[in-house]
C-alpha cells in the first residue's frame, strides 16, 4: 500500500492503494468516479478509457503508480455541464443506446480530435477500432465525431 496524490480533472485526490491497483478501480471504488466503466478488464474494449496527459489510456490495465504526477481526465472532467463539443455532438446525433460504453467512446473521440482536428473515416477507424459497442452505435459515433470536428472540438 502506498499513499498517492492523483491529479484528476484538475483536482488533487489523495488515495491509499496498492501500487499495482488498476487506475479504473481507484477511480470507481476509492474515489466514487463511476463514469469510467469496467467491461473486459484486459484493455480489449475501451470502455474504461481515460486521458493520461491527453493520451487515451485503458485504465483497467494501467497501474495507479503509472499515473502519478500526470494529468488524468475522466468523463466527469471534460466539461462541467455536458457542454464539450463531443458531448453535444453525441446528444445531437442520438448516439447512445444502452450508453454503457459511451464514456469510453467519448474519451477516445476527445483524444482523437485533440490530435487530428478534422479526422478522415480511416483516422476514425484507426482511433476507435478497439472501442467496442455491443448496441452497434458505430455509425452514429462516426457521424458525431465529424459533427464535433466541424464544431471545433
Amino acid at each position: 500500500m502506498g499513499a498517492y496524490d492523483l491529479h484528476i480533472n484538475e483536482q488533487t485526490y489523495s488515495v491509499e492503494a496498492d501500487a499495482e491497483m488498476p487506475l479504473l478501480w481507484v477511480l470507481r471504488d476509492l474515489l466514487g468516479l463511476t463514469g469510467t466503466k469496467f467491461s473486459c478488464g484486459m484493455g480489449l474494449c475501451g470502455s474504461c478509457t481515460v486521458l493520461v496527459d491527453d493520451e487515451p489510456t485503458r485504465s483497467c490495465v494501467t497501474p495507479v503508480s503509472a499515473a502519478i504526477g500526470k494529468a488524468i481526465t475522466t468523463i466527469e472532467g471534460i466539461s462541467q455541464d455536458g457542454s464539450h463539443p463531443v458531448q453535444i455532438a453525441w446528444l445531437e446525433g442520438h448516439v447512445s443506446q444502452c450508453g454503457y460504453c459511451q464514456p469510453g467512446q467519448i474519451m477516445n473521440a476527445v483524444a482523437l480530435l485533440k490530435k487530428i482536428p478534422d479526422p478522415s473515416i480511416t483516422d476514425i477507424d484507426q482511433a476507435m477500432g478497439d472501442v467496442l459497442c455491443r448496441c452497434g452505435t458505430y455509425q452514429r459515433i462516426r457521424d458525431a465525431i465529424h459533427t464535433a470536428a466541424g464544431a471545433g472540438a
Binding site: 491497483m21 478501480w25 458531448q87 442520438h94 443506446q97 476514425i124 477507424d125 448496441c135
Partner: protein, 670 residues
C-alpha cells in the same frame, strides 16, 4: 446525495400536508408500511437542464404519472431500459396526450410491483401492449385539468383547449398553467374513458426526441447496475464451476485471504464468494482461490460431439429426385456479451432484502431472491432497477441477483457482486446451437420450413430475437437456394412467395429499390436479401452488399433496411434499433461463436469472442414505412434478416454456399 426521508414516507407526508389526493398508490414501493432504510444513496436520474420538480408531487392521477406544481410531468417507467428506448417512448405517449412540452418531462423507474402487471421486458412488446394505456392515462389527466379550469372559469369544458402545459379559455386569451391546476384537478372526478388524439395532431409521437437518459450518459453520471453505491458496501466476486451442472467439492482459500483488501470468504449455492473492500481485491482474491469441483456428468461434453450426434440422426432421404432440394444449416451457441457484465447489489437487513438489479424482469428477480434466501418473504424483497448496460435477453435470468442476495445474507452487509468478462462469457444462458434440415420439392414452391435439432446440457435462453434469428436464417437462406435451383432472381421469387402479404411486399420492394437491386457490382462483390416478420408483427427486409477479398475476408459494405412497425413512436430510435440489430447479428454472422469443450465454454473475453468493430461497420440505411397502424416492436426485429442477407450476398459474390455461421475467411478459401 443522500436523503433522510425515503420517498415513500415523503409521499405519505406530502399527501397529508397538502391535503391533496394520492390515489392510494405507493408509487415507489409495493409494501405499504415496510421499513425501508433511510440512508440509501439516492440514484439521481435528472438530465441537466430539465426543470427541478418542487416537492411535494401534488397530483398522482394514475399509476403511471405525476404532475407537480411547476407543471413538471413525471412518468413512471415500469419496463427496463437497456438502450432500446422504452423509458423515453412510454413518456412520449403520456406527454403527447397530456399536451406538455417534452422539456417538462421527467422519468422515474418503478420498482418491482405487480400493480404494473408483468414487468418482464422482452419480446419487444412494451409499446404494442401499452400504446393505448399510456395515452389513455395522459388523456385522462388532461381532461381532469380541463374540467378543473372550466370549473374555475365557469365555462363549458368542451370549449377549452390545451397547449404546452396550459388550459386555454374558450376566449382564446386567458390560460391557466397545469401547475396551478393540479390541486383543483386532484378533486375532479376521474372520467371513465376519454378520447385520445387523432394521429394527425401528434406533436411528440413520431418526432425525434432522442433518449431522455442521454444527457446523463454523456456526462458519465448515468447510474448503471455497477455504479450503485451504498454506504458501507463491499464488493464480491464468485468462483463458479466451469462445467455446467458441476458442484463445489472443496476449496483452499489461504492465498485468497492473503490478498490485501479481502475481508471474508463465503460459500453460496453457486460457488465460493470472495468479499473485499473493493472490486479489484475481490477479483484477485477470487482468482487466488484453489477450488476443487465435482464436474459431474457433462465434463466430457463438446460442441463437436453434439453436432456429430445430431448430424447422424438426420433423416436419410434416399436418392433425390431432380426436383427436390435439401440443405442443412448450423448455428453455434452465442453469448450475449453485454458491455456491462452481470452484476447485482443487495442488502439483506431487518427481515428484508433490497436489491439493485440491472434486470429485464424485476418481478422474477423478486421471486428468485426470495427463493434464494432463508426467512425472507417475497413481499420483503424490494427490487430497484438501475439503467442496464445491455440486456439482449441475458438479463431475463435472475442468477446474478440470487448470488448477490446470498452473499449479503451471509456477510450481513450490503454487497455488490460483480462478474468479470470471463465470468460473463463462460456462465451465460446461450443462444441455443441448432441444426436445421430443409427438404422441399420445387414442383409446388412455398415458404420452406425446417426440422430443427438442438443440443443439450448447456444453459440456453433468450438472445435478442430468440428463435426468430434461427428461423429467419434457415428460411431465408433456403429461399435463396430455391431461387438458384429454379434459376430465378431471389427478389423475384420472394415477390411470388409473399404475394398475398401486403406489408411483406412493402418492405421487400422498398429495400430492393433503395439498394439498387439488380444493378451491377464489382466482380468480388454481391448483394443478398432477406425478409422476416419477427414474432409475426414487425416486417423487416434487408439487402446486404458484401465484398470478398483474395484472403477470403468478408467486408459488409452496405446494408439497406426497410421496416414496417406500424406507427413509429420515436422514428430515429426505430432506425437506431435497426442499426443495432444489424450490428448484433453481424457479430454472429461473421465473428463470434461460443464453443464447448470438456464441458466448458472455451471463449473468455473479446479476444476470442470478438464483436463487430468500428472499422468493420457497414454503411446502414434505414427506411421506415409510414404507417398509422398500431405500433409493433422494434428492439429485436433488426437482427433476424441480417445473417441470411449476408450469407446470400456471399453466395452472390463467390458462388459458395457456406451453410453455417460464423462465416470465416477459411470457409471461402477451401
Amino acid at each position: 446525495m443522500s436523503t433522510k426521508l425515503n420517498r415513500r414516507d415523503f409521499l405519505r407526508l406530502a399527501g397529508i400536508a397538502s391535503g391533496s389526493l394520492v390515489l392510494a398508490v405507493y408509487l415507489d414501493g409495493c409494501i405499504p408500511g415496510s421499513n425501508t432504510p433511510t440512508e440509501i444513496v439516492v440514484v439521481p436520474t435528472i438530465p441537466e437542464g430539465s426543470p427541478t420538480p418542487t416537492p411535494p408531487f401534488d397530483w398522482t392521477p394514475d399509476l403511471y404519472l405525476k404532475l407537480d406544481r411547476n407543471g413538471v410531468l413525471t412518468v413512471t417507467a415500469f419496463r427496463s431500459e437497456m438502450g432500446q428506448g422504452i423509458r423515453t417512448a412510454l413518456a412520449m405517449l403520456v406527454a403527447e396526450e397530456l399536451d406538455v412540452e417534452w422539456s417538462a418531462v421527467r422519468i422515474e423507474q418503478a420498482q418491482a410491483d405487480r400493480q404494473y402487471g408483468n414487468q418482464l421486458t422482452g419480446g419487444s412488446v412494451s409499446i404494442s401492449n401499452y400504446y393505448g394505456k399510456m395515452r389513455q392515462a395522459g388523456a385522462t389527466a388532461r381532461q381532469m385539468l380541463i374540467n378543473a379550469a372550466a370549473g374555475i372559469w365557469d365555462v363549458e369544458a368542451g370549449l377549452c383547449k390545451t397547449e404546452k402545459g396550459f388550459v386555454i379559455h374558450p376566449d382564446g386569451q386567458q390560460k391557466i398553467s397545469y401547475g396551478a391546476l393540479v390541486e383543483a384537478a386532484s378533486s375532479e372526478e376521474k372520467p371513465q374513458k376519454v378520447d385520445v388524439k387523432d394521429g394527425s395532431k401528434f406533436k411528440i409521437i413520431g418526432t425525434g426526441v432522442g433518449h431522455w437518459d442521454a444527457p446523463l450518459i454523456v456526462n458519465g453520471k448515468a447510474v448503471f447496475g455497477l455504479d450503485v453505491r451504498l454506504p458501507g458496501m463491499l464488493f464480491a466476486a464468485v468462483a463458479r464451476c466451469p462445467v455446467f451442472g458441476g458442484k463445489l467439492d472443496s476449496f483452499d482459500d489461504g492465498d485468497a485471504k492473503a490478498v490485501p483488501g479481502v475481508k471474508q470468504i463465503v460459500t453460496i449455492q453457486r460457488g465460493v464468494a470472495v468479499v473485499a473492500e473493493n472490486s479489484w481485491a475481490a477479483i484477485r482474491g477470487r482468482n487466488a482461490l484453489k477450488v476443487v469441483w465435482n464436474e459431474g456428468s457433462n465434463a466430457a461434453l463438446s460442441s463437436e460431439e453434439i453436432i456429430e450426434s445430431i448430424l447422424k440422426s438426420l433423416p436419410n432421404p434416399g436418392p433425390l429426385d431432380a426436383n427436390i432440394i435439401e440443405a442443412v444449416y448450423q448455428i453455434p451457441y452465442e453469448a450475449h456479451a453485454t458491455m456491462e457484465p452481470m452484476n447485482c447489489t443487495a442488502y439483506v437487513h431487518d427481515g428484508m432484502c433490497e436489491v439493485w438489479a440491472p434486470t429485464q424482469s424485476p418481478q422474477d428477480v423478486q421471486t428468485a431472491v426470495m427463493m434464494a434466501l432463508t426467512g425472507i418473504s417475497q413481499d420483503k424483497v424490494i427490487v430497484n432497477v438501475p439503467l442496464i448496460g445491455g440486456g439482449f435477453g441475458r438479463r431475463l435470468q435472475t442468477d446474478y441477483a440470487q448470488e448477490a442476495a446470498q452473499v449479503s445474507q451471509a456477510i450481513n452487509a450490503p454487497v455488490q457482486v460483480l462478474w468479470t468478462r470471463e465470468d460473463d462469457i463462460q456462465h451465460d444462458f446461450y443462444h441455443p446451437m441448432s441444426i436445421q434440415y430443409f427438404h422441399e420439392s420445387l414442383d409446388n414452391i412455398r415458404i420452406p420450413s425446417a426440422r430443427m435439432y438442438g443440443g443439450q446440457a448447456v444453459p440456453t435462453g433468450a438472445w435478442r430475437s430468440v428463435d426468430q434469428f434461427t428461423r429467419a436464417y434457415g428460411e431465408q437462406f433456403f429461399i435463396d437456394e430455391m431461387a438458384a435451383a429454379l434459376k430465378r432472381d431471389p427478389l423475384d421469387l420472394r415477390l411470388e412467395l409473399y404475394q398475398d402479404r401486403e406489408r411483406a411486399l412493402g418492405v421487400i420492394k422498398l429495400a430492393a429499390e433503395k439498394a439498387n437491386w439488380g444493378q451491377p457490382l464489382p466482380s468480388s462483390a454481391g448483394r443478398g436479401m432477406a425478409y422476416f416478420a419477427t414474432f409475426g408483427v414487425t416486417h423487416v427486409a434487408q439487402v446486404a452488399e458484401v465484398s470478398v477479398g483474395q484472403d477470403g475476408k468478408i467486408r459488409v459494405d452496405r446494408v439497406v433496411c426497410a421496416v414496417d412497425c406500424g406507427q413509429a413512436v420515436n422514428p430515429d430510435n426505430v432506425a437506431a434499433q435497426m442499426e443495432g440489430g444489424i450490428v448484433f447479428g453481424l457479430t454472429a454472422t461473421l465473428k463470434a461463436e461460443a464453443t464447448l469443450k470438456d464441458g466448458r465454454i472455451q471463449q473468455s473475453n473479446f479476444h476470442d469472442y470478438p464483436i463487430l468493430r468500428m472499422d468493420e461497420m457497414p454503411e446502414i440505411e434505414v427506411y421506415i414505412v409510414q404507417s398509422d397502424s398500431q405500433p409493433s416492436g422494434i428492439g429485436e426485429m433488426g437482427v433476424p434478416p441480417i445473417a441470411p442477407a449476408v450469407t446470400n450476398a456471399v453466395f452472390a459474390a463467390t458462388g459458395k454456399r457456406i451453410r453455417h455461421i460464423p462465416i470465416k475467411p477459411q470457409d471461402l478459401l477451401a
